[in-house]
Amino acid sequence: MDSLEIFTEKLLVELDSFPPESLKPDTHYRQLPEWSSMHVLIIIAFCETEYGITVTGEDLRGCSTLRDLHNLLLTRQ
């Protein structure tokens, strides 16, 4: 599993629609004006294809930051 830093870098490329520096590991992403339900699907697809780890919508409802998400993936390795 990638470090939090590399995980964040890779995921930001996929998410694409956030202004630079607006989305960091401890940013509460749902509070960002650009956040959309499409991003949930992008995260699910990313975790699946990049790490082979299944993350559900319910999992994501329990995460508020990219750090939370990274921690979740660490438990699923």
């Binding site: 629609s17 650009e34 339900s37 499409m38 949930v40 699907l41 699946e48 294809t49 919508g57």
Partner: protein
């Protein structure tokens, strides 16, 4: 993509994620039966078949012309088929084309039916609420017709599955016997994310359907390939149900199929339910008409229901798409 409930940046993200830029919406009063009838008459003309030559018609749809009678029987009459022919509906959506092929070929393999029509389509837009930005821009309307002729030596392989525990992932809550239409049916509710629906609209749990599809579709396809001893190299086209490009690309990557073998019609037609597989074949694979082609088809969604089929065509006839 013009949809005022999505801001320009949301529209851009929508197009990028779903792959959908355009959809075709049936005008009021135009039914799935009408769409499939138009497709069938064009196909019969190309094949030089008459309606009375066809002894079996199966209609796959979840937006029938009427609650009853079955739309297939109405089309038996419209197509000029004999009264001794068999006509029936199958109530399936995304998996419907694969299931339809399975049922029709199982019925034909006895030799009891020599020429058959599989009609598949939906007017899905009739069930979506314009104020529901999670569903309204996804669906387009389409009807298709596939003609099959009996050949004792011909084989199609299938892998078919069902999981009713996922019934609420995609459903229309009211209007059936479980919950008839009543005074609460058309009261709109506002859900998380500003989504507005009433109980006669399509209710879709996007992340549950996404998880289901990227989990089950690759497994079904791989199961079928293992069963038949087929490798991706031997398949000319993998035609996936056209639900969402990100979803389909995730499936493609899990199976390690090259992009050039997995065509899309999402951009021009959106999600056309059971029509999406045959529509993609006709729209995106026309160069295969005169060639022997090995097709791997996979449909997955509402039910939950999913299935895959492996078949080979020789000199398949693909009429042009009609817009009515």
């Amino acid at each position: 993509m013009e949809y005022e409930l999505l801001s320009p940046s949301e529209q851009q993200l929508f197009v990028k994620t779903t792959g959908i830029r355009y959809r075709h919406v049936a005008r009021p009063g135009l039914t799935t039966g009408d769409l499939c009838y138009a497709a069938a008459t064009e196909l019969l003309k190309k094949l030089n078949w008459r309606g009375e030559d066809v002894d079996l018609v199966i209609m796959v749809s979840q937006s029938p012309d009427y609650f009853l009678p079955a739309t297939a029987i109405i089309l038996q009459d419209r197509l000029g088929m004999k009264k001794s022919s068999v006509a029936l509906d199958i109530n399936l959506g995304c998996s419907g084309y694969v299931y339809g092929l399975s049922v029709i070929s199982a019925m034909m393999q006895t030799g009891a039916f020599k020429k058959a029509l599989l009609l598949a389509g939906d007017v899905s837009t009739a069930a979506t609420n314009k104020k529901d930005k999670s569903t309204y821009p996804l669906f387009g309307d389409a009807g298709t017709a596939t003609a099959l002729e009996y050949n004792r030596d011909y084989e199609i392989a299938f892998d078919l599955n069902s999981d009713g525990s996922g019934q609420r992932a995609i459903y229309i809550p009211h209007g059936g016997i479980r919950h008839p239409i009543d005074s609460t049916t058309f009261k709109e509710q506002t859900l998380e994310g500003g989504i507005i629906r009433h109980h006669r609209n399509l209710w879709l749990d996007g992340s549950e359907v996404f998880n289901f599809s990227v989990r089950e579709a690759p497994t079904s396809i791989q199961t079928l390939m293992n069963f038949t001893g087929t490798t991706p190299d031997e398949v000319d086209y993998l035609i996936l149900h056209q639900a969402n490009k990100l979803m389909d690309e995730t499936i493609r990557k899990k199976l390690k199929f090259p992009a050039e073998k997995v065509p899309y019609t999402l951009h021009d037609f959106g999600n056309t339910s059971s029509a999406s597989i045959p529509l993609t074949i006709v729209h995106a694979c026309r160069e295969r008409q005169a060639l022997t082609t090995k097709w791997l088809l996979s449909g997955f969604g509402v039910g939950l229901s999913w299935g895959s089929a492996l078949l080979t065509t020789h000199n398949v006839v693909l009429p042009e798409i009609q817009y009515i």
